[in-house]
């Protein structure tokens, strides 16, 4: 193993106090003294906050004044600040990859209780790093070009907002939405808290902007089926489900719907959660974007029997937009960055049997009530129960499926506020007595507490207690009146509250197919199942996959303002990458030492990115640096040790192993 002569290497060792995070848990001075004595170490120092500007300047001065050519920083995790210190070292004129970090905070100070042991471990880890960095070679970060296009997955408010920002910035955006129209959950809401402005009024202009925007290619009723490649160079396969209507030809005149042989709408309308009816050929909702109808093969007679008179086709004779032969298509696109905005799904209250959802007709979920309240909804804004009568007494139960060991442990953050909003709207529409059964009213955010006071002042009954049982009111079981049994914990009395209508404020949870989507985009999931952000505080919209960003409720429950803020942030970060035009990739790619390679081809099949090929003329293996991701699998498998890996050379790792095993 050829190691440089010790006198050439002058190592600067820096250990950070990180306030008291590190200094509080281990003896920083002892580590400095120990490392100062190691071969090759020219300078060893500790400092309160190395990642601060003065801290970085300290290092830069030392490099110049003491002629240091290697830097070891013992502080937090390299995943946090390695880039920071490398940039600082580079500015001081030293190759950034002569800088190496030692994780003595997350892996040592924060997780060990015995101060002596933690100090010994810090010394060992530092020794390992010092020996390793002595063998580091100068490297250049690899600049990988970034495609200018962006893929936005999910057409809810998050996807829409992100797409618009990017498109307005002049970038080409592919917006892929699984439903026939964009709009997501927000399109179903009536009003939005706390300002009570109508959801459609603030959403539809953005939707039509998306529909009309030259830079946005909108693919609704489509799904991403495969993603390959890496940041800057993703090639994505999108499958477009057949609408049996040609998008470009249809102008949304809806003649075909009238002409459909089903005179009246008979089938449950998914958009209105089954409360309203629709025909086989239908438009999800009036402001749907693109304003293009679609035919549901499950209910259209032509698909069942093939003998329908196809009156719809006649109605669309001139434009001939209807095409029963339409088949599923797949498209390949090349994008530089991806924004995941796949949203959430509401908790299915059937999982809590004692609320009687699906058993008692007068029990509704909050989303269904949003449709009832909505002027464009199935009842034209009239809150009419399934038995046709308006309710006099309405109970709203908070935290359905949230803050509960048996369902979801987390608080869904938005239910209290939308429950108050529903309470206000129901009272406004029907004048009914409204009871809100809550555990804690949580109103974080601007204008929320004021909204709570305003709604309370309108005479809502706020009962602090979780509804324990729901059963038909023994007094008149006939017309669906329900009895809610609940303890008012502030009064300390069990109440039996008769209501005509029960609204369940269901919480937000990850979509059912989260695991499948996670694998496609190489993401990670947190313990509750939402996509895991790279860092909860410092990188909330970046994911673990480089160049893939998260926005909206797919990353965790949040309200519309936060969702839009995140969408903006994700768009900004994507834009940052695109504008820069390249991403810097750690130069940790593998390389074949040609004179040593025997051409035994053992490495070739191991590379999942097919980066290794046989140089035909020389019968030697060759690694295409652009394709190589730096996993190092081939390096470990090369039987004659002829493949090296930048930044993770065999001798570097071996010296690190020797170092960490020394006894401090």
């Amino acid at each position: 193993m050829r190691t440089p002569r010790p006198d050439q290497v002058r190592i600067g060792f820096y250990i950070c106090h990180c306030g008291t995070n590190i200094a509080g848990a281990l003896d920083v001075g002892e580590v400095v003294n120990h490392v100062a004595g190691l071969p090759g170490v020219a300078l060893a120092r500790d400092y309160k906050y190395l990642c601060s500007d003065p801290g970085q300047e300290l290092i830069q001065h030392d490099i110049r004044d003491h002629g240091l050519n290697r830097i070891v920083v013992a502080a937090c995790s390299p995943l946090m600040h390695e880039r920071t210190f490398r940039r600082a070292v580079e500015e001081a004129g030293l190759n950034p990859f002569y800088c190496h970090m030692v994780n003595i905070r997350e892996h040592d100070a924060w997780v060990h209780t015995d101060r002596q042991e933690a100090t010994a471990k810090a010394k060992a880890l530092a020794t390992g790093a010092v020996r390793r960095v002595a063998l580091h070679k100068p490297l250049e970060t690899k600049k990988v070009p970034i495609h200018g296009e962006v893929l936005v997955v999910g057409g809810g408010i998050a996807g829409i907002h992100a797409a618009l920002i990017l498109a307005d910035a002049g970038k080409r955006v592919y917006l892929v939405e699984r439903e026939p129209t964009i709009g997501g959950h927000m399109a179903r809401f009536d009003k939005t808290f706390p300002t009570l402005d109508c959801a459609a009024c603030i959403l539809t202009p953005k939707m039509s902007a998306v529909g009309a925007h030259p830079n946005i290619t909108l693919w609704t009723y489509s799904e991403v089926t495969q993603v390959e490649g890496y940041v800057g160079n993703f090639n994505v396969t999108v499958t477009r489900k057949p609408r049996y209507v040609i998008e470009d030809a249809c102008t949304g005149c809806l003649q075909c719907i009238e002409a459909c042989i089903y005179h009246d709408a008979r089938f449950p309308d998914e958009f209105n959660l089954g409360l309203g009816k629709r025909k086989p050929i239908h438009l999800p909702f009036p402001q749907a974007t693109p304003p293009v109808v679609l035919i549901d093969p499950g209910t259209c007679i032509e698909f069942k029997t093939g003998k329908c008179k196809k009156t719809c086709v006649e109605a669309c004779a001139d434009r001939r937009a209807i095409d029963f032969q339409q088949r599923e298509e797949t498209r390949q696109i090349q994008v530089g960055t991806i924004i995941i905005a796949t949203g959430f799904q509401t908790f299915d209250p059937r999982r809590i049997p004692y609320y009687g959802y699906g058993v008692f007709p007068t029990v509704y979920t909050a989303l269904e009530v949003e449709r009832l309240l909505n002027a464009a909804g199935p009842t034209g804004g009239e809150v009419i129960l399934r038995n046709g009568k308006p309710p006099q007494r309405v109970g709203i139960v908070h935290c359905v499926g949230s803050r509960d060991e048996n369902t979801n442990r987390y608080c869904s953050r938005v239910c209290c506020l939308y429950s108050l909003k529903l309470a206000h709207l129901i009272k406004e529409h029907t004048g009914a007595e409204v009871y809100n059964f809550y555990i804690d009213i949580r109103t974080p955010g601007k204008g929320m507490e004021e909204f709570y006071n305003r709604v309370a002042e309108e005479g809502m009954h706020l009962v602090r207690g979780k509804v324990a049982d729901v059963y038909p009111d023994p007094a008149d079981p006939a017309n669906g009146r329900l009895m809610l049994q609940v303890e008012d914990t502030l009064m300390g009395r069990i109440l039996k509250v008769p209501v005509d209508m029960l609204v369940l404020s269901v919480g937000l949870e990850p979509r059912a197919d989260t695991q499948e989507v996670r694998r496609k985009f190489n993401l990670c999931c947190g313990p509750e199942g939402f996509f895991l952000e790279r860092h909860p505080k410092l990188a909330p919209v970046s994911s673990y996959a480089e160049g893939v960003f998260l926005a909206g409720c797919c990353q965790g429950p949040k309200d519309i303002p936060d969702t839009v803020a995140q969408a903006g942030a994700a768009a900004a970060q994507a834009l940052a990458l695109i504008v820069r035009g390249y991403t810097e990739q750690e130069p940790n790619t593998a390389y074949v030492r040609e004179e040593d390679c025997s051409g035994c081809k053992s490495c070739i099949p191991l590379c999942p990115y097919t980066a290794i090929s046989l140089a035909a003329d020389k019968q030697k293996a060759f690694i295409n640096e652009a394709l190589c991701k730096g996993c190092g699998v081939c390096v470990a498998a090369c039987p004659s040790g002829s493949i090296g890996q930048n930044l993770f050379e065999d001798e570097q790792l071996l010296s690190e192993v020797e170092g960490v095993l020394t006894y401090a």
């Binding site: 025997s598 035994c600 081809k601 053992s602 070739i604 099949p605 498998a637 090369c638 039987p639 065999d650």
Partner: protein, 336 residues
């Protein structure tokens, strides 16, 4: 040219089989020029010089000493230290001296186990009085001595400083000739070099083209279980062939004999542990993904130590088996 001016050369063999001596004899006609060029002052297999002759020589009198065989007994250790003292250039000749060779497989067993089995428990031995070879046996007032039997087998450079290595079991005549010529002409590479190509055997293997670029094995085969295709790469047929991890230089003799390479030329200079390296290469080439499938695929390698460290156990990172060995189980007939 009077004999004294010719450079003196010595050959010696420690725990060896004499195959390396044969390899020197196999220089055939070339041995004549060698004999012309040098004066062999010590070569037990072919010349009657005695230990005292060696001891009588002044230090560093021998230009080059080629020592083969691993170090197993104290006498061998003594001889190599003596040869080191007497030679300017000590050359490790053959796999045993370089890596421990096949005798080093004994490092999987303890000293007492070996002696007890060889002299007591072997089925052919009748030794009711329980005699064992003794370091000293008295004989009317005098004693007859035997060297000590070390607990571990060592490669040459684990006992004395070694200048060059000529690999192989045995080294090929061509390799030996090239080394001797280089020695005589004084054009020797830096100390510690292995005098053989530093590239794996596949480069010289006639079957390299037939090795697929997407080899993915479902199982390792045992040579006597499959009909061996004389043209196709043996590893591609599932036979564990150490070629990819072993130095070239032997011109793939075993493969020309239609059998797999067993790794006698040792690893390339960049490899720290021959066995671990080939294990990594073989395991990475497997196809199954879950543990049971993998274990089934690996059933074709029942003896990892014997296959991967056949010639290099003494120079492996772990050097020998630790703690009480498994032999007791063998002796009572139940496998470990």
């Amino acid at each position: 040219m009077n004999p004294t001016s010719k450079p003196k050369v010595a050959f010696y063999w420690c725990a060896s089989c004499g195959g390396c001596e044969e390899a020197v004899v196999d220089l055939a006609e070339d041995i004549l020029n060698v004999v012309e060029a040098v004066e062999i002052v010590f070569w037990p297999v072919a010349m009657d010089f005695k230990k005292q002759d060696l001891e009588a020589m002044p230090d560093r009198a021998i230009a080059a000493a080629l020592v083969n065989g691993a170090i197993r007994t104290s006498e061998q250790e003594e001889m190599v230290r003596l040869l080191r003292r007497k030679s300017q250039c000590l050359i490790s000749y053959g796999a045993c001296a370089q890596l421990g060779g096949i005798p080093a497989l004994a490092n999987q067993f303890e000293r007492e186990e070996i002696l007890r089995y060889v002299y007591q428990e072997a089925p052919s031995v009748i030794n009711n009085s329980g005699t064992y070879p003794q370091p000293a046996t008295p004989h009317n007032g005098d004693t007859v001595t035997l060297p000590a039997f070390r607990n571990s087998v060592r490669a040459l450079d684990q006992v004395v400083e070694v200048d060059y290595y000529i690999p192989g079991c045995p080294p090929t005549p061509a390799l030996t000739k090239a080394a001797l010529d280089a020695l005589l002409a004084g054009r020797l590479p830096p100390r510690g070099t292995v005098l053989a190509p530093d590239v794996a055997l596949c480069e010289q293997c006639p079957r390299l083209e037939s090795k697929p670029k997407d080899l993915s094995l479902d199982a390792f085969q045992r040579p006597h279980r499959t009909a061996l295709d004389p043209e196709k790469c043996l590893l591609a047929q599932g036979i564990p062939c150490m070629g990819p991890a072993t130095r070239s230089g032997c011109e793939a003799l075993c493969i020309k004999g239609n059998m797999a390479c067993t790794g006698c030329f040792g690893p390339t200079s960049r490899v720290l542990d021959h066995g671990a390296k080939i294990l990594s290469c073989f395991a990475s080439a497997l196809a199954p993904k879950e543990p049971q499938g993998i274990d089934q695929a690996l059933a074709g390698l029942p003896d990892p130590v014997g296959t991967f460290y056949r010639y290099s156990l003494a120079r492996s990172l772990l050097r020998r088996k630790r703690g009480p060995s498994q032999t007791q189980h063998f002796i009572r007939g139940n496998p470990p």
